[in-house]
Protein backbone atom coordinates (compact mmCIF):
# COMPACT_ATOMS: atom_id res chain seq x y z
CA UNK A 1 0.00 0.00 0.00
CA UNK A 2 1.23 3.48 -0.88
CA UNK A 3 -0.33 6.74 0.29
CA UNK A 4 0.82 10.28 -0.40
CA UNK A 5 -0.88 13.30 1.13
CA UNK A 6 0.23 16.72 -0.12
CA UNK A 7 3.77 15.51 -0.58
CA UNK A 8 6.39 17.99 -1.67
CA UNK A 9 10.02 17.29 -2.45
CA UNK A 10 12.87 19.74 -2.58
CA UNK A 11 16.32 18.32 -3.05
CA UNK A 12 18.87 19.52 -0.58
CA UNK A 13 22.55 18.87 -0.35
CA UNK A 14 21.99 15.89 1.91
CA UNK A 15 19.35 14.35 -0.31
CA UNK A 16 21.09 14.38 -3.62
CA UNK A 17 24.61 13.41 -4.54
CA UNK A 18 24.68 15.98 -7.28
CA UNK A 19 22.88 18.71 -5.44
CA UNK A 20 26.01 20.65 -4.71
CA UNK A 21 26.92 20.81 -8.37
CA UNK A 22 23.55 21.53 -9.83
CA UNK A 23 21.62 24.49 -8.60
CA UNK A 24 18.51 23.26 -10.41
CA UNK A 25 18.33 20.35 -7.98
CA UNK A 26 17.62 22.77 -5.18
CA UNK A 27 14.35 23.58 -6.85
CA UNK A 28 11.10 22.09 -5.71
CA UNK A 29 10.61 19.02 -7.89
CA UNK A 30 7.29 17.76 -6.51
CA UNK A 31 4.37 19.89 -5.38
CA UNK A 32 1.42 18.83 -3.29
CA UNK A 33 1.20 15.28 -4.67
CA UNK A 34 -1.56 13.10 -3.26
CA UNK A 35 -2.66 9.64 -4.31
CA UNK A 36 -3.35 6.22 -2.88
CA UNK A 37 -2.44 2.80 -4.24
CA UNK A 38 -3.99 -0.13 -2.37
CA UNK A 39 -1.99 -3.29 -1.72
CA UNK A 40 -1.71 -5.28 -4.94
CA UNK A 41 -2.54 -2.20 -7.03
CA UNK A 42 -0.89 -1.29 -10.31
CA UNK A 43 -0.13 2.21 -11.63
CA UNK A 44 1.49 3.49 -14.74
CA UNK A 45 3.51 6.61 -13.99
CA UNK A 46 3.40 8.90 -16.97
CA UNK A 47 4.53 12.36 -17.92
CA UNK A 48 7.05 14.22 -19.99
CA UNK A 49 10.75 14.27 -19.15
CA UNK A 50 11.39 16.48 -16.16
CA UNK A 51 7.85 16.05 -14.87
CA UNK A 52 9.10 14.45 -11.63
CA UNK A 53 8.56 10.75 -12.34
CA UNK A 54 12.03 9.70 -11.22
CA UNK A 55 11.81 11.92 -8.14
CA UNK A 56 8.49 10.34 -7.23
CA UNK A 57 10.01 6.89 -7.66
CA UNK A 58 12.98 7.92 -5.48
CA UNK A 59 10.49 8.91 -2.80
CA UNK A 60 8.72 5.58 -3.05
CA UNK A 61 11.98 3.58 -2.97
CA UNK A 62 12.95 5.54 0.19
CA UNK A 63 16.03 7.08 -1.42
CA UNK A 64 14.82 10.47 -0.18
CA UNK A 65 12.34 11.63 2.41
CA UNK A 66 9.56 14.04 1.56
CA UNK A 67 10.21 17.70 2.30
CA UNK A 68 6.57 18.16 3.23
CA UNK A 69 3.36 16.19 3.46
CA UNK A 70 2.77 12.59 4.49
CA UNK A 71 4.19 9.51 2.82
CA UNK A 72 3.13 6.01 3.77
CA UNK A 73 4.83 3.02 2.17
CA UNK A 74 3.78 -0.56 2.93
CA UNK A 75 1.98 0.61 6.04
CA UNK A 76 4.85 2.67 7.43
CA UNK A 77 4.67 6.46 7.81
CA UNK A 78 8.03 7.47 6.38
CA UNK A 79 8.21 10.97 7.79
CA UNK A 80 8.02 9.55 11.32
CA UNK A 81 10.13 6.49 10.63
CA UNK A 82 13.52 6.20 12.31
CA UNK A 83 16.50 5.78 10.04
CA UNK A 84 17.35 2.35 11.41
CA UNK A 85 13.86 1.12 10.53
CA UNK A 86 14.20 1.93 6.84
CA UNK A 87 16.52 -0.92 5.66
CA UNK A 88 14.00 -3.69 6.43
CA UNK A 89 11.39 -1.66 4.57
CA UNK A 90 13.70 -1.19 1.59
CA UNK A 91 14.23 -4.95 1.42
CA UNK A 92 10.49 -5.28 0.70
CA UNK A 93 10.78 -2.94 -2.26
CA UNK A 94 12.13 -3.97 -5.67
CA UNK A 95 13.40 -1.34 -8.04
CA UNK A 96 14.27 -1.43 -11.73
CA UNK A 97 16.39 1.59 -12.55
CA UNK A 98 16.53 3.31 -15.89
CA UNK A 99 20.34 3.20 -15.75
CA UNK A 100 20.34 -0.39 -14.36
CA UNK A 101 22.53 0.49 -11.37
CA UNK A 102 24.40 -2.79 -11.36
CA UNK A 103 27.59 -3.26 -9.37
CA UNK A 104 30.31 -3.26 -12.04
CA UNK A 105 32.74 -5.53 -10.19
CA UNK A 106 30.19 -8.29 -9.60
CA UNK A 107 29.00 -10.93 -12.03
CA UNK A 108 25.42 -11.05 -13.25
CA UNK A 109 24.84 -13.89 -10.79
CA UNK A 110 26.14 -11.93 -7.81
CA UNK A 111 24.25 -8.80 -8.80
CA UNK A 112 21.01 -10.73 -8.88
CA UNK A 113 21.90 -12.46 -5.61
CA UNK A 114 22.36 -9.22 -3.64
CA UNK A 115 18.75 -8.81 -2.41
CA UNK A 116 18.36 -12.42 -1.33
CA UNK A 117 21.72 -12.39 0.43
CA UNK A 118 20.67 -9.21 2.20
CA UNK A 119 17.45 -10.99 3.09
CA UNK A 120 19.58 -13.59 4.87
CA UNK A 121 18.71 -16.58 2.73
CA UNK A 122 21.11 -19.54 2.99
CA UNK A 123 23.68 -19.68 0.19
CA UNK A 124 22.27 -22.91 -1.22
CA UNK A 125 18.85 -21.34 -1.54
CA UNK A 126 20.41 -18.20 -3.02
CA UNK A 127 22.05 -20.26 -5.78
CA UNK A 128 18.83 -22.03 -6.67
CA UNK A 129 16.78 -18.82 -6.69
CA UNK A 130 19.31 -16.86 -8.73
CA UNK A 131 19.73 -19.61 -11.29
CA UNK A 132 15.97 -19.82 -11.72
CA UNK A 133 15.71 -16.06 -12.11
CA UNK A 134 18.54 -15.91 -14.63
CA UNK A 135 16.88 -18.72 -16.57
CA UNK A 136 13.65 -16.74 -16.60
CA UNK A 137 15.33 -13.64 -18.06
CA UNK A 138 17.34 -15.76 -20.49
CA UNK A 139 20.78 -15.12 -19.03
CA UNK A 140 21.76 -18.55 -17.76
CA UNK A 141 24.82 -18.66 -19.96
CA UNK A 142 25.83 -15.11 -19.02
CA UNK A 143 25.70 -15.58 -15.27
CA UNK A 144 29.46 -15.11 -14.83
CA UNK A 145 29.67 -12.03 -17.02
CA UNK A 146 30.20 -8.64 -15.49
CA UNK A 147 27.97 -5.73 -16.50
CA UNK A 148 30.63 -4.26 -18.77
CA UNK A 149 30.58 -7.52 -20.76
CA UNK A 150 26.79 -7.43 -21.19
CA UNK A 151 24.72 -5.53 -23.74
CA UNK A 152 22.28 -2.84 -22.61
CA UNK A 153 19.36 -5.27 -22.91
CA UNK A 154 21.18 -7.94 -20.94
CA UNK A 155 22.03 -5.47 -18.21
CA UNK A 156 18.39 -4.44 -18.12
CA UNK A 157 17.38 -8.06 -17.65
CA UNK A 158 19.89 -8.50 -14.83
CA UNK A 159 18.42 -5.40 -13.17
CA UNK A 160 14.92 -6.82 -13.56
CA UNK A 161 15.98 -10.16 -12.11
CA UNK A 162 17.56 -8.40 -9.15
CA UNK A 163 14.43 -6.32 -8.55
CA UNK A 164 12.00 -9.24 -8.43
CA UNK A 165 14.06 -12.10 -7.00
CA UNK A 166 13.12 -11.35 -3.39
CA UNK A 167 9.39 -11.23 -4.24
CA UNK A 168 9.00 -7.56 -3.21
CA UNK A 169 5.75 -6.18 -1.84
CA UNK A 170 6.27 -2.99 -3.81
CA UNK A 171 7.85 -2.99 -7.26
CA UNK A 172 9.03 0.25 -8.81
CA UNK A 173 10.24 0.43 -12.37
CA UNK A 174 11.73 3.36 -14.25
CA UNK A 175 11.55 2.78 -18.01
CA UNK A 176 11.94 -0.97 -17.56
CA UNK A 177 11.53 -1.82 -21.24
CA UNK A 178 13.74 0.93 -22.59
CA UNK A 179 16.55 -1.41 -23.61
CA UNK A 180 14.50 -4.53 -24.32
CA UNK A 181 13.30 -5.94 -27.60
CA UNK A 182 9.59 -6.67 -28.02
CA UNK A 183 9.88 -10.28 -26.92
CA UNK A 184 11.76 -9.40 -23.75
CA UNK A 185 9.46 -6.43 -23.08
CA UNK A 186 6.46 -8.71 -23.31
CA UNK A 187 8.09 -11.24 -20.99
CA UNK A 188 8.80 -8.47 -18.50
CA UNK A 189 5.24 -7.24 -18.60
CA UNK A 190 3.96 -10.78 -18.12
CA UNK A 191 6.23 -11.05 -15.09
CA UNK A 192 5.01 -7.74 -13.65
CA UNK A 193 1.39 -8.75 -14.18
CA UNK A 194 2.00 -12.10 -12.51
CA UNK A 195 3.72 -10.49 -9.52
CA UNK A 196 0.91 -7.96 -9.32
CA UNK A 197 -1.64 -10.77 -9.41
CA UNK A 198 0.21 -12.39 -6.49
CA UNK A 199 -0.16 -9.21 -4.44
CA UNK A 200 2.80 -7.03 -5.34
CA UNK A 201 1.98 -3.35 -5.66
CA UNK A 202 3.58 -2.00 -8.84
CA UNK A 203 4.40 1.45 -10.14
CA UNK A 204 5.91 1.58 -13.63
CA UNK A 205 7.21 4.82 -15.11
CA UNK A 206 7.41 4.85 -18.87
CA UNK A 207 7.40 6.95 -22.00
CA UNK A 208 6.29 3.94 -24.03
CA UNK A 209 2.79 4.83 -25.19
CA UNK A 210 2.35 1.52 -27.03
CA UNK A 211 3.14 -0.42 -23.89
CA UNK A 212 0.52 1.48 -21.89
CA UNK A 213 -2.05 0.91 -24.59
CA UNK A 214 -1.24 -2.79 -24.78
CA UNK A 215 -1.58 -3.18 -20.99
CA UNK A 216 -4.20 -0.65 -20.01
CA UNK A 217 -4.45 0.21 -16.36
CA UNK A 218 -4.79 3.06 -13.94
CA UNK A 219 -2.18 5.77 -14.42
CA UNK A 220 -0.67 8.65 -12.50
CA UNK A 221 0.25 11.51 -14.80
CA UNK A 222 2.78 14.11 -13.65
CA UNK A 223 3.51 17.47 -15.19
CA UNK A 224 5.89 20.06 -13.76
CA UNK A 225 6.07 18.16 -10.48
CA UNK A 226 2.32 18.10 -9.99
CA UNK A 227 -0.08 15.19 -10.26
CA UNK A 228 -2.43 16.14 -13.07
CA UNK A 229 -4.29 12.89 -13.54
CA UNK A 230 -5.00 9.73 -11.54
CA UNK A 231 -7.35 7.36 -13.30
CA UNK A 232 -7.90 4.66 -15.88
CA UNK A 233 -8.88 6.85 -18.76
CA UNK A 234 -5.45 8.14 -19.52
CA UNK A 235 -5.50 11.10 -21.82
CA UNK A 236 -2.06 11.34 -23.28
CA UNK A 237 -2.94 14.79 -24.44
CA UNK A 238 -3.23 15.83 -20.83
CA UNK A 239 0.49 15.79 -20.60
CA UNK A 240 0.65 18.36 -23.32
CA UNK A 241 4.29 17.67 -24.02
CA UNK A 242 5.87 16.84 -27.31
CA UNK A 243 8.44 14.67 -25.52
CA UNK A 244 5.69 12.54 -24.07
CA UNK A 245 3.82 12.34 -27.38
CA UNK A 246 6.87 11.56 -29.39
CA UNK A 247 8.60 9.19 -26.99
Amino acid sequence: MVRLESVGLRYGRADSPGAGHNQALHDQVLHDVSFYIPGGGFRWLLGPSGAGKTSLLRLLMLAVRPSSGRLEVLGTAIERCKRRDLPPLRRRIGTIFQDFRLLPHLSAFDNVALPVRLAGRPEGQVRADVEEMLRFVGLTRRSDARPAELSGGEQQRVAIARAVIARPKLLLADEPTGNLDDVQATRLMQLLIELNRLGTTAVVATHNQALVQRYPGRALVLADGRLVQDGTDVAFAACDGTQWRGA
Binding site: P87, R117, A119
Partner: protein
Amino acid sequence: MRPSLRPAKADDLGLRRALSDRLLPLLVTAMTILAALTLAGAIAAAGLARHWRGGAATMVTVQVPDPSDAAPGGTTRAVAVARLLEMLQGRGGLGVSGARLLTEPEVGALLKPWLGVDAAALSLKLPAVFEVRMKYSSAAFAAGAAGDAFAAGAAGDAFAAGAAGAAFAAGAAGLDAALARVAPGTLVERNGVWLSRLTGLAASLQACAAVALAMVAFIAAAVVALATRAGLAARRDAIEIVHGLGAPDRAIAGPFSARISGLAFGGSLLGLILVVPLLIGLAQVSAPFQADAAGFHSPEALLAALPVFLWVSLAALPLAAGLIGWSTAQLTVRGWLRRLP
Protein backbone atom coordinates in the same frame (compact mmCIF):
# COMPACT_ATOMS: atom_id res chain seq x y z
CA MET B 1 19.71 -14.47 10.07
CA ARG B 2 21.01 -10.87 10.18
CA PRO B 3 20.99 -9.11 6.82
CA SER B 4 24.50 -8.81 5.50
CA LEU B 5 26.62 -8.97 2.42
CA ARG B 6 28.86 -11.98 1.91
CA PRO B 7 32.04 -12.28 4.01
CA ALA B 8 34.72 -9.69 3.23
CA LYS B 9 36.71 -12.05 1.02
CA ALA B 10 33.80 -12.11 -1.45
CA ASP B 11 34.34 -8.36 -1.87
CA ASP B 12 30.75 -7.42 -2.73
CA LEU B 13 31.64 -3.73 -2.51
CA GLY B 14 34.80 -3.99 -4.61
CA LEU B 15 37.02 -2.80 -1.79
CA ARG B 16 40.12 -4.66 -2.94
CA ARG B 17 40.60 -2.08 -5.63
CA ALA B 18 39.11 0.86 -3.76
CA LEU B 19 41.31 0.35 -0.69
CA SER B 20 44.78 -0.24 -2.04
CA ASP B 21 46.98 -2.79 -0.31
CA ARG B 22 50.04 -0.60 -0.84
CA LEU B 23 49.96 2.84 0.71
CA LEU B 24 48.00 2.16 3.89
CA PRO B 25 50.01 -0.90 4.96
CA LEU B 26 53.26 0.94 4.30
CA LEU B 27 52.16 3.87 6.43
CA VAL B 28 51.12 1.50 9.19
CA THR B 29 54.47 -0.27 8.85
CA ALA B 30 56.28 3.02 9.43
CA MET B 31 54.08 3.89 12.37
CA THR B 32 54.59 0.46 13.89
CA ILE B 33 58.35 0.95 13.71
CA LEU B 34 57.97 4.32 15.43
CA ALA B 35 55.70 2.83 18.07
CA ALA B 36 58.04 -0.12 18.65
CA LEU B 37 61.06 2.14 19.07
CA THR B 38 59.11 4.38 21.42
CA LEU B 39 57.95 1.41 23.44
CA ALA B 40 61.45 0.01 23.59
CA GLY B 41 62.77 3.40 24.74
CA ALA B 42 60.14 3.68 27.43
CA ILE B 43 60.69 0.16 28.68
CA ALA B 44 64.47 0.61 28.57
CA ALA B 45 64.17 3.82 30.59
CA ALA B 46 62.01 2.04 33.13
CA GLY B 47 64.49 -0.84 33.24
CA LEU B 48 67.43 1.49 33.77
CA ALA B 49 65.63 3.33 36.53
CA ARG B 50 64.84 0.02 38.16
CA HIS B 51 68.43 -1.09 37.76
CA TRP B 52 69.74 2.09 39.29
CA ARG B 53 67.36 1.83 42.18
CA GLY B 54 68.18 -1.79 42.81
CA GLY B 55 71.90 -1.65 42.08
CA ALA B 56 74.43 1.10 42.48
CA ALA B 57 71.95 3.50 43.96
CA THR B 58 71.33 1.27 46.95
CA MET B 59 75.00 1.17 47.70
CA VAL B 60 76.31 3.41 50.41
CA THR B 61 80.02 3.94 50.90
CA VAL B 62 81.18 4.33 54.49
CA GLN B 63 84.68 5.71 54.98
CA VAL B 64 86.29 5.40 58.40
CA PRO B 65 89.31 7.68 58.72
CA ASP B 66 92.07 6.52 61.02
CA PRO B 67 90.66 3.03 61.20
CA SER B 68 93.30 1.76 63.59
CA ASP B 69 92.67 4.39 66.23
CA ALA B 70 90.87 3.44 69.39
CA ALA B 71 87.14 3.69 69.60
CA PRO B 72 84.82 3.72 72.61
CA GLY B 73 84.50 0.20 73.95
CA GLY B 74 88.17 -0.75 73.61
CA THR B 75 88.26 -1.67 69.95
CA THR B 76 89.52 0.12 66.87
CA ARG B 77 87.29 2.45 64.91
CA ALA B 78 87.17 0.08 61.95
CA VAL B 79 86.15 -2.86 64.10
CA ALA B 80 83.51 -0.77 65.89
CA VAL B 81 81.96 0.23 62.58
CA ALA B 82 82.16 -3.34 61.28
CA ARG B 83 80.36 -4.61 64.37
CA LEU B 84 77.71 -1.95 64.11
CA LEU B 85 77.08 -2.74 60.44
CA GLU B 86 77.07 -6.47 61.11
CA MET B 87 74.52 -6.01 63.85
CA LEU B 88 72.34 -3.76 61.70
CA GLN B 89 72.53 -6.24 58.82
CA GLY B 90 71.59 -9.13 61.06
CA ARG B 91 68.52 -7.38 62.38
CA GLY B 92 67.62 -5.40 59.31
CA GLY B 93 68.12 -2.14 61.15
CA LEU B 94 68.10 1.21 59.38
CA GLY B 95 67.56 -0.56 56.05
CA VAL B 96 71.01 -2.14 56.00
CA SER B 97 70.89 -5.38 54.07
CA GLY B 98 74.59 -6.06 53.61
CA ALA B 99 78.01 -4.69 54.35
CA ARG B 100 81.50 -5.55 53.21
CA LEU B 101 84.89 -4.15 54.13
CA LEU B 102 86.93 -3.44 51.03
CA THR B 103 90.44 -4.87 51.00
CA GLU B 104 93.44 -2.54 50.79
CA PRO B 105 94.14 -3.47 47.14
CA GLU B 106 90.49 -2.67 46.31
CA VAL B 107 90.76 0.72 48.01
CA GLY B 108 94.05 1.31 46.20
CA ALA B 109 92.40 0.47 42.90
CA LEU B 110 89.62 2.95 43.64
CA LEU B 111 92.12 5.70 44.32
CA LYS B 112 94.47 4.91 41.47
CA PRO B 113 92.65 7.08 38.87
CA TRP B 114 93.16 10.11 41.09
CA LEU B 115 96.62 9.32 42.47
CA GLY B 116 98.09 7.96 39.28
CA VAL B 117 100.07 5.30 41.15
CA ASP B 118 99.30 2.62 43.66
CA ALA B 119 98.36 4.17 46.97
CA ALA B 120 100.61 1.72 48.82
CA ALA B 121 103.58 3.10 46.96
CA LEU B 122 102.92 6.57 48.41
CA SER B 123 102.64 5.25 51.96
CA LEU B 124 99.32 7.00 52.37
CA LYS B 125 97.19 6.32 55.39
CA LEU B 126 94.09 4.91 53.81
CA PRO B 127 90.63 4.94 55.42
CA ALA B 128 88.71 1.75 55.97
CA VAL B 129 86.00 1.61 53.35
CA PHE B 130 82.78 -0.35 53.76
CA GLU B 131 80.38 -1.06 50.95
CA VAL B 132 76.93 -1.05 52.52
CA ARG B 133 73.88 -2.25 50.61
CA MET B 134 70.60 -0.70 51.62
CA LYS B 135 67.06 -1.91 51.08
CA TYR B 136 65.59 0.51 48.55
CA SER B 137 62.12 0.14 49.91
CA SER B 138 63.12 0.82 53.45
CA ALA B 139 61.79 3.98 54.92
CA ALA B 140 65.20 5.01 56.05
CA PHE B 141 66.67 4.76 52.58
CA ALA B 142 63.74 6.45 51.01
CA ALA B 143 64.23 9.35 53.33
CA GLY B 144 67.90 9.49 52.35
CA ALA B 145 67.10 9.27 48.65
CA ALA B 146 64.68 12.11 49.00
CA GLY B 147 67.41 14.44 50.05
CA ASP B 148 69.96 13.22 52.50
CA ALA B 149 67.54 12.98 55.33
CA PHE B 150 68.99 9.61 56.03
CA ALA B 151 70.21 10.63 59.42
CA ALA B 152 67.28 12.80 60.18
CA GLY B 153 65.46 12.06 63.34
CA ALA B 154 66.74 11.21 66.65
CA ALA B 155 70.37 10.56 67.03
CA GLY B 156 70.04 11.77 70.57
CA ASP B 157 71.30 9.54 73.26
CA ALA B 158 70.86 6.32 71.39
CA PHE B 159 74.46 5.24 71.75
CA ALA B 160 74.58 6.23 75.39
CA ALA B 161 71.80 3.86 76.14
CA GLY B 162 73.70 0.89 74.86
CA ALA B 163 75.93 1.74 71.97
CA ALA B 164 74.88 0.39 68.61
CA GLY B 165 72.08 -1.75 69.93
CA ALA B 166 70.37 1.29 71.33
CA ALA B 167 70.86 3.10 68.05
CA PHE B 168 69.08 0.28 66.28
CA ALA B 169 66.39 0.28 68.92
CA ALA B 170 65.77 3.91 68.24
CA GLY B 171 64.21 2.79 64.98
CA ALA B 172 64.22 5.97 63.04
CA ALA B 173 67.73 6.94 64.03
CA GLY B 174 69.88 7.44 60.97
CA LEU B 175 72.90 5.47 59.94
CA ASP B 176 75.02 8.61 60.02
CA ALA B 177 74.22 9.29 63.63
CA ALA B 178 74.87 5.70 64.65
CA LEU B 179 78.20 5.67 62.85
CA ALA B 180 79.18 9.00 64.37
CA ARG B 181 78.66 7.52 67.79
CA VAL B 182 80.90 4.52 67.27
CA ALA B 183 83.51 6.26 65.09
CA PRO B 184 83.27 10.06 65.02
CA GLY B 185 84.25 11.56 61.67
CA THR B 186 83.02 8.60 59.65
CA LEU B 187 81.82 9.69 56.22
CA VAL B 188 78.75 8.28 54.50
CA GLU B 189 78.41 8.78 50.76
CA ARG B 190 75.14 7.85 49.21
CA ASN B 191 73.73 8.10 45.72
CA GLY B 192 70.29 9.32 46.68
CA VAL B 193 70.50 12.71 45.02
CA TRP B 194 71.55 11.53 41.58
CA LEU B 195 69.25 8.56 41.90
CA SER B 196 66.33 10.91 42.42
CA ARG B 197 67.40 12.96 39.37
CA LEU B 198 67.90 9.89 37.21
CA THR B 199 64.56 8.48 38.32
CA GLY B 200 62.96 11.79 37.38
CA LEU B 201 64.69 11.66 34.01
CA ALA B 202 63.44 8.13 33.43
CA ALA B 203 59.92 9.15 34.40
CA SER B 204 59.97 12.10 32.01
CA LEU B 205 61.28 9.82 29.25
CA GLN B 206 58.40 7.46 29.92
CA ALA B 207 55.92 10.34 29.82
CA CYS B 208 57.38 11.49 26.49
CA ALA B 209 57.09 7.94 25.19
CA ALA B 210 53.44 7.76 26.26
CA VAL B 211 52.72 11.04 24.45
CA ALA B 212 54.57 9.79 21.37
CA LEU B 213 52.59 6.53 21.42
CA ALA B 214 49.33 8.45 21.71
CA MET B 215 50.38 10.62 18.77
CA VAL B 216 51.26 7.55 16.70
CA ALA B 217 47.85 6.05 17.48
CA PHE B 218 46.12 9.33 16.60
CA ILE B 219 48.00 9.64 13.31
CA ALA B 220 47.25 6.00 12.52
CA ALA B 221 43.55 6.66 13.09
CA ALA B 222 43.73 9.78 10.90
CA VAL B 223 45.45 7.86 8.10
CA VAL B 224 42.85 5.10 8.32
CA ALA B 225 40.03 7.65 8.27
CA LEU B 226 41.49 9.27 5.15
CA ALA B 227 41.93 5.91 3.44
CA THR B 228 38.39 4.94 4.36
CA ARG B 229 36.98 8.18 3.00
CA ALA B 230 38.90 7.63 -0.22
CA GLY B 231 37.38 4.16 -0.41
CA LEU B 232 33.92 5.56 0.25
CA ALA B 233 34.37 8.11 -2.53
CA ALA B 234 35.57 5.42 -4.92
CA ARG B 235 32.66 3.10 -4.11
CA ARG B 236 29.96 5.69 -3.59
CA ASP B 237 27.71 4.29 -6.31
CA ALA B 238 28.05 0.71 -5.10
CA ILE B 239 27.31 1.78 -1.53
CA GLU B 240 24.25 3.74 -2.57
CA ILE B 241 23.01 0.74 -4.54
CA VAL B 242 23.33 -1.76 -1.70
CA HIS B 243 21.98 0.85 0.70
CA GLY B 244 18.96 1.18 -1.57
CA LEU B 245 18.58 -2.58 -1.65
CA GLY B 246 18.15 -2.52 2.11
CA ALA B 247 21.64 -3.12 3.44
CA PRO B 248 21.86 -1.85 7.03
CA ASP B 249 24.82 0.36 7.99
CA ARG B 250 26.44 -2.59 9.70
CA ALA B 251 26.48 -4.60 6.49
CA ILE B 252 28.27 -1.78 4.65
CA ALA B 253 30.66 -0.78 7.44
CA GLY B 254 31.62 -4.40 8.08
CA PRO B 255 33.47 -5.04 4.80
CA PHE B 256 35.28 -1.71 5.14
CA SER B 257 36.38 -2.57 8.67
CA ALA B 258 37.44 -6.06 7.69
CA ARG B 259 39.50 -4.79 4.76
CA ILE B 260 41.07 -1.87 6.65
CA SER B 261 41.86 -3.87 9.77
CA GLY B 262 43.41 -6.60 7.64
CA LEU B 263 45.62 -4.09 5.85
CA ALA B 264 46.58 -2.40 9.11
CA PHE B 265 47.36 -5.73 10.77
CA GLY B 266 49.49 -6.84 7.83
CA GLY B 267 51.33 -3.53 7.66
CA SER B 268 51.97 -3.61 11.37
CA LEU B 269 53.22 -7.18 11.20
CA LEU B 270 55.68 -6.16 8.51
CA GLY B 271 56.81 -3.25 10.68
CA LEU B 272 57.34 -5.63 13.56
CA ILE B 273 59.45 -7.95 11.45
CA LEU B 274 61.58 -5.02 10.35
CA VAL B 275 62.00 -3.44 13.75
CA VAL B 276 63.00 -6.51 15.76
CA PRO B 277 66.54 -6.71 14.30
CA LEU B 278 66.88 -2.99 14.90
CA LEU B 279 65.84 -3.39 18.52
CA ILE B 280 68.27 -6.22 19.02
CA GLY B 281 71.03 -4.02 17.61
CA LEU B 282 70.07 -1.21 19.95
CA ALA B 283 69.95 -3.62 22.86
CA GLN B 284 73.50 -4.65 22.01
CA VAL B 285 74.59 -1.03 21.99
CA SER B 286 72.95 -0.38 25.34
CA ALA B 287 74.14 -3.66 26.87
CA PRO B 288 76.89 -2.01 28.95
CA PHE B 289 74.22 0.00 30.74
CA GLN B 290 72.24 -3.06 31.59
CA ALA B 291 72.78 -5.25 34.58
CA ASP B 292 73.35 -8.50 32.81
CA ALA B 293 75.76 -7.51 30.09
CA ALA B 294 77.31 -10.94 30.16
CA GLY B 295 74.22 -12.43 28.57
CA PHE B 296 74.28 -10.29 25.43
CA HIS B 297 76.92 -12.07 23.44
CA SER B 298 74.67 -14.06 21.10
CA PRO B 299 71.41 -13.21 19.34
CA GLU B 300 69.62 -15.89 21.34
CA ALA B 301 70.92 -14.40 24.53
CA LEU B 302 69.83 -10.96 23.36
CA LEU B 303 66.31 -12.20 22.71
CA ALA B 304 66.23 -13.71 26.16
CA ALA B 305 67.78 -10.66 27.75
CA LEU B 306 65.23 -8.14 26.43
CA PRO B 307 62.35 -7.55 28.83
CA VAL B 308 59.41 -9.89 28.48
CA PHE B 309 57.09 -6.91 28.72
CA LEU B 310 58.72 -5.44 25.62
CA TRP B 311 58.05 -8.60 23.65
CA VAL B 312 54.46 -8.70 24.85
CA SER B 313 54.02 -5.04 23.91
CA LEU B 314 55.55 -5.60 20.48
CA ALA B 315 53.30 -8.59 19.87
CA ALA B 316 50.32 -6.43 20.77
CA LEU B 317 51.19 -3.76 18.19
CA PRO B 318 49.63 -5.53 15.15
CA LEU B 319 46.54 -6.26 17.21
CA ALA B 320 46.36 -2.61 18.26
CA ALA B 321 46.83 -1.51 14.64
CA GLY B 322 44.06 -3.87 13.54
CA LEU B 323 41.79 -2.60 16.29
CA ILE B 324 42.47 1.05 15.43
CA GLY B 325 41.79 0.24 11.77
CA TRP B 326 38.57 -1.61 12.52
CA SER B 327 37.11 0.96 14.88
CA THR B 328 38.15 3.99 12.81
CA ALA B 329 36.69 2.45 9.66
CA GLN B 330 33.45 1.67 11.47
CA LEU B 331 33.10 5.21 12.76
CA THR B 332 34.04 6.77 9.43
CA VAL B 333 31.69 4.64 7.34
CA ARG B 334 28.78 4.90 9.73
CA GLY B 335 29.26 8.66 9.93
CA TRP B 336 29.30 8.89 6.15
CA LEU B 337 26.23 6.69 5.80
CA ARG B 338 24.22 8.96 8.07
CA ARG B 339 24.06 11.39 5.16
CA LEU B 340 21.93 8.85 3.35
CA PRO B 341 18.28 8.55 4.43
